[in-house]
Subunit: 268 residues, 4 copies
């Protein structure tokens, strides 16, 4: 499966990184530059935010899309962003290289069908209480309309344990790959809800054989309007990525850098 | 809260009954007449069906809405039906007296907000892994836009137990009532997935203090395109309703019959 | 099945009531007298307490058994108490009319087998994450050794919901009855962890068709060394029991009072 | 913490391997020799088996302990075996270098206290629905009696997902380490219930920072009286161990081989 010029799945390993929410042009572009220099594959950023509480920050909406377009113009990184409302499809398609469907929308059949009628790749997150079978059915809602480029994403399921937010279900990764024939990514940020566990969980995702990661990184996470405690600091991202790419490489994966690392090009 | 001329909540008990899916005009009207004669409060029927598997029956869509309109014309029963796609809102509003939001859409904020901008009452089902707090937040998405007439509905949560489909969480009923200030109904059909447990679960719902039920009834459930095994047979509905209304009455609730029962009017 | 002179199951309804822990002779005897006068069927009291935290109150042990014996001597009520350690079997057998196995011991095969070799009835609580099938297997550990008098007890399962302690799974009651052929009781106290929900849950248990209840009642619950917030006050127990017995009676059950109520004998 | 001459935890990585159940002397000794030659740290084998169904194979009991003693005599490997019944403590202590407490006994306080009064190290498995807090409380039951050598073990929790037996909760590993100060092992065999996922899950356990593994290996798993489908074949164990030790080594762990590998000594 090729997405934005990258071969995704099977023998490669991709990292999609960026802030939970885009808030200002400066923040968005600076984080995009950082993750680009560090060697990420694509840039993610939230314009429309799915929130349990209607009084929580809901994202910048279409103004956020403009910031993502700016980040893409500056860095060349492909853009991954979430579509919340089927009526915003055209707007989001104009900016996104991958349309993300969040776990709360995994059962939203009209949204999935509408995405199936585009030719834009879809990153489909497993619902927080969705079985493996239901997750594949959701992909089938997209594929059944014609669009075959679906990437699944394990992001943690809801269990009785309350010491962290969701239980990252790494066993699901090889089973989803085997049963769906699709690439499977892991989101290591939302489940623990703690920055200090993100590196370890990212490495376990690489060790289990995931095809990539989608990870939250921000400049000043502690000032972020949402999910601050779980976001990596952009200044730590390069060393994070080295550790993760080392494990992915040891598992026989070719890592997909949008830009070759400076040291590599120097030595070349 | 008044809905379709009925005072809902606190001191009354309502029963919304009808088939999982409307399939033909004959079936729809006959079931509506049966539940009307038996003393139900409103009629339910699915035109748009939320299904996990895209290859399962998805409902008749707008043709189904026409069947519901016919049932209303024949019986006078208020109509409860599910809105799956926010783009169908106007179509569904033309027929529905209560718009149902299914458990798979409880986290669909754009849909909830759109409903909040109508003045049509909303029956909001708890998500299959939604906490009590998240369920009330979903109601707040509707209420925050201005529409205060939200009825919550417990329909079973997902647990480890696999002897039935979902675990009906009756403890949630008084807690949801207390924390939200809203009426709380129970769906006794989907959780057990077995017709023979529906009467018992309906009585427990009345005993716990629920404000009403939404229950599936069909003429020939074993020929239904979905959820056949859990639907009551329409010929059994009158005796079902007597048992449930007896418990609700013993709990101090006034039962809301759309039509007075024949025996009552004869004896009157 | 006859236990302590009472026919248990099918057409009758029993209520086992008493404090979480026995603490003093005065408390134990006074609560026993209260529940006896109100019309309970048996007396329960904890001498050995299963606690998650080793630093929590662990019960009076064998001194507690002496208090239970005193309560029995004063009221004639049969005694239900928990056996925690298989090495205490003889001691507990000397006092108990029913040996209780707590949910934490449902998978304790050596304990279950030892009980199966006695002729003392066993009240076996479902484990907090035990399936219906595993619960019946646990009963089979007892029955396989010869002792057929096992009463199952639903006490709430562990789910993602954190607004209360455990999710009372009332659907399990008829399924356990059907599959095991055994009487099934409900513990309405531990799951909600809140006194004000105990009456409602007890009534739903009667409505679903349970064969009885085991409920916590104490004189001064707010001073109790454990589980205070969920225990009924003994002064409220008579009105509680009237409400519960009314529902059980409406469901066609004959209620099992150890002592006929004073008003009844006066009127007789 | 030193166990059987090995420093366990923090900077080392141990692998305990052997059959689910010991069945014959030949099988036991041969598997022990294989895992020893491959470089495992200790030998495991079940004499007393905790089974949900009383009609399932329950282990050889004390005859099984004799087989374990024989395996130890032949290979010198330290022995890890499960204690099911507190009354068997002396018998099992005579053979075991580590006493295992299974997940079904994690809440068995009398058993835990009895182990706390020995000086034998304890491998304590997390209960299948035990929170992290409760797991540490269980360790405190042992430590509170004086025995400080407790190793915790994550082995999968019970969730709604039914595509595999238990959901391996790798996030719990660093949290348990941090909160308890104890070494934390992972059992990669019981959760997936499928041999072909065991290697991947073992590598993720090493990547997350676990202090070791306890894994099931048998000669002819498909003839095993229990858990056949999840046991590694002993002929595959050496290559399995190389892969796992490679990840552990990359994570900075010194692997603990009971015997130096032949190739290493030859090349030395």
């Amino acid at each position: 499966m090729e997405i934005a010029g990258h071969p995704i799945g099977a023998t490669t390993f991709a990292v999609i990184a960026g802030p939970c929410s885009v808030v200002t042009a400066d923040q968005t572009v600076r984080v995009a530059q950082r993750v680009n220099e560090a060697g990420a594959t694509m840039f993610r950023g939230g314009a429309y935010k799915p929130r349990s509480n209607p009084r929580s920050f809901q994202g910048l909406g279409d103004r956020g899309l403009a910031l993502l377009a700016e980040a893409k113009a500056q860095t060349g990184l492909p853009i991954v962003t979430e579509l919340l409302d089927v009526r915003d499809l055209e707007l989001v398609l104009a900016v996104a290289d991958i349309l993300q469907v969040g776990s709360r929308n995994m059962h939203n059949a009209p949204l999935l069908k509408a995405l199936g009628q585009t030719d834009c790749p879809v990153l489909l997150k497993r619902g927080l209480a969705a079985t493996i079978e239901e997750t594949i059915f959701a992909a089938d809602y997209v594929r059944g309309e014609g669009n075959q480029r679906v990437v699944l994403c394990e992001r943690g399921i809801r269990t009785f344990e309350s010491s962290y937010r969701f239980t990252l279900d790494l066993t699901a990764v090889p089973i989803l790959q085997e049963r769906s024939g699709l690439p499977v990514f892991v989101d290591p940020s939302h489940a623990p809800g703690r920055r200090d566990l993100v590196t370890r969980l990212s490495k376990t995702a690489a060790a289990i054989g995931a095809d990539g990661l989608i990870v939250e990184v921000d400049e000043h996470p502690d000032q972020a309007p949402c999910d601050g405690p779980q976001q990596l600091r952009s200044e730590d991202f390069a060393s994070y990525l080295r550790e993760v790419y080392r494990v992915a490489g040891a598992e026989g994966r070719r890592v997909l850098r949008a830009t070759e690392p400076e040291s590599a090009s120097r030595s070349g």
